[in-house]
Symmetry: C2
Subunit: 364 residues, 2 copies
């Protein structure tokens, strides 16, 4: 057993709020005095239906979700949504618009291309995904079924600093890694989805927020029922047995966020943490981050050391110093410090202190 506090910078499954973890552990065997675990009760029981209703109400309140939007809790993660979105929203359209500002935008587009033509209206790959191109430079998408983008790219460490203007085209956004990290205007969107394992809960459940009118679109004939938004709306996300423990966990996280003061407090907290690390990165030259300052992710801070060997040594020694999960994604290598809602400022301070010490000992 470790006695010192560990700070977990994993990109996802990620660190959950300490208070939530303790609360979940405390009532794990005996939920609400029933003598059984919340993980052992029927999703059709009134007990669980109460959790489901409460979680939706809380999310609606936290995000200020208008009444003409439905909230779903579905299995399968964002990868499932990469297919669900085109299959549900294609209607009679010939093509969909995709924005590529990192790896996940590319993967989402690749899956969608199996169902309809793709209009890649902007692609930042030529610039190694280090910025978000100004919307003035994007191609026309007025005849598209929808406009899809990824608000925060976890691998490339790039985050949108604006909501694209989509006029009459439904705006679809993968917010897997930054939903609940700040307030934003839901009414600008047609559909928002987010897998759980960053800011929402442990892995295994996916939030979908969909505007009512989009349920009228004719889906792909082969759409598996489990992925059918209209059907799941009709069945209150219980057409199947949902991942009940994750759903309950998400509800606990929503309560925690509310207790912290809501999303504006989260936003300030996250901005402060990110600023501290980026300010340090900008103050020295041993660690490199090449992302356009305006588009640096507040959730995933990526950087490289002078050599891959030093990257590896950094990750190893960081873990020995109780800083966990700093290894970058295999696609980019380097270091990635994920600082979602649950990461306290203390963790960021310890990371920076370790970075300073490591640099001192390893500068050539």
């Amino acid at each position: 057993m470790t006695s010192q506090k560990v700070f977990n910078f994993s990109a996802g499954p990620a660190m959950m709020p300490s208070e939530v973890m303790h609360g979940v552990q405390n009532e794990f065997l005996n939920w609400r005095g029933l003598g059984v675990s919340v993980a052992e009760i029927s999703h059709r029981s009134q007990y669980f239906l109460d959790i489901a209703a409460q979680s939706k109400n809380q999310l609606r309140e936290l995000l200020n979700i208008p009444e003409n939007y439905h909230i779903l809790f579905l299995p399968g993660g964002a990868r499932t949504q990469f297919a669900s979105v085109p299959m549900n929203l294609m209607g009679d359209y010939q093509q969909a618009a995709y924005v590529q500002t990192g790896y996940w935008g590319y993967v989402a587009q690749t899956e969608a291309s199996r169902y309809l033509s793709i209009n890649t209206i902007v692609n930042a790959e030529h610039n190694h995904y280090t910025h978000i191109p100004d919307q003035k430079t994007w191609a026309d998408f007025s005849d598209c079924a929808y406009l899809h983008y990824v608000d925060n790219e976890t691998i490339h460490g790039v985050e949108f600093d604006f909501i694209p203007s989509a006029q009459n085209v439904p705006l679809v956004c993968d917010m897997s890694s930054n939903l609940l990290s700040r307030p934003f205007d839901v009414s600008k969107y047609g559909l928002i989805y987010a897998s759980s394992q960053k800011n929402v809960a442990i892995s295994g459940i996916t939030i979908v927020i969909i505007r009512d009118d989009l349920l009228q679109r004719k889906p792909h004939a082969a759409l598996p029922s489990i992925m059918n938004y209209a059907l799941q709306v009709k069945h209150d996300s219980m057409w199947n047995t949902p991942p009940t423990f994750e759903w309950y966990f998400a509800d606990q996280v929503f309560q925690w966020i509310k207790k912290q003061g809501g999303l504006s407090v989260m936003a300030k907290h996250n901005a402060d943490k990110a600023k501290k690390i980026y300010d340090y990165l900008d103050s020295q030259s041993f660690y490199q981050n090449k992302i356009n300052k305006q588009h640096r992710s507040r959730m995933n801070v990526i950087f490289h050391l002078p050599t891959p060997e030093l990257d590896a040594a950094f990750v190893k020694q960081a873990q020995e110093n109780h800083l966990f999960g700093l290894k970058g994604h295999k696609i980019l290598g380097g270091i990635r410090a994920s600082i979602y809602n649950a990461m306290p400022m203390e963790g960021v301070d310890q990371l920076i202190a370790f970075m300073k010490q490591f640099a001192l000992l390893n500068i050539p």
Copy 2:
């Protein structure tokens, strides 16, 4: 907080083994001394890859799964498999064979009928799903892509007492409610699937066991990648971020079963529990079970009281007596006592004692 032990007869999400629940709670905040939860570590970390590998090895050992079968851990439950099976296995076939011996066989067939023609080779609905028709009475299925059946019907309380002979047609089985409850010959099957929330783990993960040659079949062109068996085999069930906590939980359950003595011990235990309840049911006339004796489920014991009002009073008073989750499925009403692996004989004894007492006080 309740002080008396509660026995949970929920059909699923269901009671998990008490030792597993305690073990999971104990290490929930600090797994293997890492200072972080197993629910907070990356699925790509060596820590989690070890769990994934160990869980597969253990399952292979428990079920004696031949080397030419792949084991997958997927999201989405059995409902997802209702679409995955036809979409992956249709190849150039025109139709698939379905056996209807209860509600879930019907639902599986309905979803499959969206992808290919269905040959319902036997249908026990005319007899209110109270028995498994002899295979001699089944229609021919030799030209079908596969033969699908549900080994245990949780709502109708009917369980197969034999493995159908399928000759050269791949046998596909939904074992969601009885996988791990007894040993059986995996080599008779082409594909076996099971959602987790009965004998495997808490809800949210699905086991698929598939024979290697079936991965060669050409899938439906619109098959979502997340549901593509061959792709998931290639990526070791990690094409997506898996529901890591459920996967870990399943691994804990596998260890527990092994510690109990394996599946033959489970089978004896389950047969003994079921016999005790059915023997009591057969000894009186207040509670009614109309299932053909040979096909009574060892997992889900269903019965009715003389009136729906008495059913409701029974469920309510049972819970007051620490017997939880006995309400029957809304389709059939009545009572359902689910007695999966985790239910100890003590729970069955207390249920029977309560039934005797309730009957005594309520016999007209």
